[in-house]
Structures are given as C-alpha cells and as structure tokens.
Symmetry: C2
Subunit: 204 residues, 2 copies
DNA sequence: TCTGCCATGTAATATGTTACATGATTGT
DNA sequence: ACAATCATGTAACATATTACATGGCAGA
C-alpha cells in the first residue's frame, strides 16, 4: 500500500499531472519508490474515486489533454495516518545474492563480470547522490557532533538552521548514500577475494 | 524470475518437499529471497511441467501426501545460465524512507516510535546473522587482510581452507550483516538527531 | 472418533510489468 | 499536411499476498 501514499506525498510537495509525476518518479521520489506511468495513472484514478485527490481545471476530461491533480483534506489525513502507523521492514530480496548462492552450487562461471558491472552501477549511483547532497544540503548543520545547545529544549527554528523538513529529506538521502556505499564496499571485497582466491578460467 | 531459481538452488542443496522448502525459505534462503508456501507450490508445479524438476517416489500423487522433488539436468542447466546472465540491480523500494519523506510534508507524529521499533528489529536480525557466522564460518580465513601467499597463483584447495562454495556463502551472509549494520547505524543517527533537534510532543 | 497438526492445494485480490492504442499540441 | 512529441489511457500478463479448503496421519 505504498504507491498511493508516494503519490499523495509527491502531490503535496507540488500539484502535478500524471506525466509530471512519472518524471518525478524517475528522480527524487523514484530513488526509493519507483513506478511506471501505467501504475501512476491507475492509482490516480483510484485516489480520485476515493476522494483523496481531485483534478484541477478540467470540466469533462478529454483523452489526450493534460490533467493536473491536487490533494484534498481527506488525502492529507490518510497520509498522516499512514506515517504514524506501523509497518515491518520487508526482508531483503536481492537477485544478485541469490545468484551467488546458486553459484556456490553450480559454479561461478560469468559471475565476476557481473560483479564488476554492478560495482560500476552502484558507484555511479553513489556519485549522483553525493552531487545531490552537495547541491541541496551543502551547509551541513554546523553543530553536528558537538551539540552545544542551551539546557532547555524549547527549540524555535533559527535562521541559518535547516528546517525540520530539510533535515528529514537529508536523512532519507543519506540512507541512499549509505546503502550505495555498502554495496560498493561489499562488491569490492567480493572481487578482491575472487581475484586472490579462485580457481578456473573465470576472470573475464 | 528469481523465485524458480531460488527453488532450484534450494533443491540442489537438498531435495525437499514443498513444506520443507517453505520452512527453509523462513531461514537461510529466505534471508534474501522470501516466499510463501502458495508461491512455492505453484512454482513447483511449473518447474515440474517444464521438466526442470521431478517428484520422487510417488506413483500417482494423493492430495495430502508428502511429495519430494529433485532437480533434473535441464534444471541445473537453466540455473547455470541464470547465474551467468545479466540483471540490473533494482532501485531501492523502502516504505520507511517513503514515510520519512511524507513526514517532511505532513509532520513526524508517531515516527520516532516507529524508528525505535525498526531499530530493535534490525538489531535482532544483525545478532542472528552474527550467530550464524560464528557457528558456520568461525575459523575465518587466517590470511584475511594480510595475504602472505606465494607469488604464483596456482591454488589447489588446501586442507583447513574454506571451499569455494563456503567462501561464496559466507560472502552472501556478510552482505546481510553489512545491510543490517547499515540500517542500525542509520536509524541510530536518525533518532539521535530527532532527540536533539525536534519540536513537538512527539517523543513517544 | 475426535482433535490437532502435517501437507498440498485453490481462489480471490493486489500489485507490478510490458506492449500497445489514442488523442492533443507544436513545429516544419 | 505531416512528423514528432506530449499526455493519457487499455489490455494482457506475471508476480505476490491473503484467506480458505481438503486430505492424511498420529495420538488421546
């Protein structure tokens, strides 16, 4: 049940048409929840029917004509409830790990090439995330690590300090960075081992 | 297309019945490719029809009676080909990250509780992986990190050294460990920030 | 015989993927 | 008029999830 909520979030950040949403799901939001345009259009229809969003401008809709949506109060409440709810982390599902397990049984033919390819892809993604971080979150909170703040916890947002919203978005981005770095490190180690250890005419 | 290959791998490691497979998918294999018993029975049917596996023992099958499968040569070839193929890493899809992004828009009510809950779950999983590592891969290759090995790369597996298969399985397990540790670290940092920074009667 | 559990399976639904169809708009 | 592209949509299929159904077997 995540896609509708992803769409609600995106539309709250900025009202959009289906195609615009699709494009945004190729970047920012799509970095941790991808979706194709077919999924998006289907879901937009459902959300509209449920009274969570509504189309702007339109009168009666014409097929090829742009249709922009905005979130209604009911949609915002739905999203708020979802944020507060509980949902267990899903177990990992990774085909590459599965293939390595299979390789332990049927042999590693062709694997190292694939590991190198994945390593390159993860390195590229990591670089992209770091660019985004440098661009959008550059003046990192100066008090990180030191925390010299008055005793009481009143906390009104000061000038120069990042907003709560920015702090959360930065945190999400850092999860992406940490994940990519983890894969880069792990793949590097995997290749190092298979360079020093293995037998067979496998190093392609 | 990973589930059939996961099942082939599991059956090569050990011929099993559907329910046994289900149980194994709750542990080892399931740590990086989960599946329910319905998926497994359906897929066993398909694999049998495709001639990749066959039922042992049975004569004609009776409904409630145990049915054990083994992998045929065609199945092994299919799996070998899959290991050698290419398959891009899927973009991350994580509801928790999505919820944090939504929280940046509608507020963080209820989030910290959920973060703490996830932290506890990941810590438990990490501990479980470490137990498995200690049990199954304890005498870690002594040359890790130093690598004082003769110049030439002949390499016949010596006594006391882990087999290639063990090396791969250990590598897969370490991916699980690294992932869990990444989440533990990230969640810890997220909570630290929201302890020192935030406003609101939110700390539940 | 009844209960509980082992084991296999069906059905319905939800979600995700791939291929294709149709209309609108803009530039040449 | 035509082509390219924007934009919305349908259809078919594959995969995953949830709930339930059926039969076998073992012990009280």
């Amino acid at each position: 049940m995540s896609l509708p909520h992803a769409i609600l979030t995106a539309l709250l950040e900025r009202p959009s048409s289906g195609l615009e949403l699709t494009r945004r799901f190729d970047r920012s939001i799509g970095y941790f929840w991808s979706a194709t345009h077919q999924q998006i259009y289907r879901e937009l229809g459902r959300l509209e029917e449920a009274g969570h969003i509504r189309a702007l401008a339109p009168e009666q809709p014409v097929r090829g004509r742009r249709k922009e949506y905005e979130v209604l109060e009911a949609g915002r409440e739905e999203l708020t409830g979802w944020v507060a709810g509980r949902e267990d982390p899903k177990p990992v599902r990774d085909p590459l790990l599965l293939r390595m397990r299979a390789a332990a049984v049927v042999g590693t033919d062709g694997l190292p090439v694939e590991l190198r390819r994945h390593l390159a892809l993860h390195e590229r993604q990591l670089a992209e995330y770091r660019d985004i971080e440098a661009r959008d979150f550059s003046p990192r909170e100066p008090e990180r690590g030191t925390e010299r703040r008055p005793e009481r916890r009143l906390r009104e947002p000061r000038a120069g300090e990042p907003s709560e919203a920015d702090r959360l978005r930065h945190l999400v981005l850092r999860a992406g960075i940490d994940l990519e770095r983890m894969w880069v490190d792990w793949l590097t180690e995997a290749l190092r081992e298979s360079d020093t250890a293995p037998a067979g005419p496998d190093a392609a």
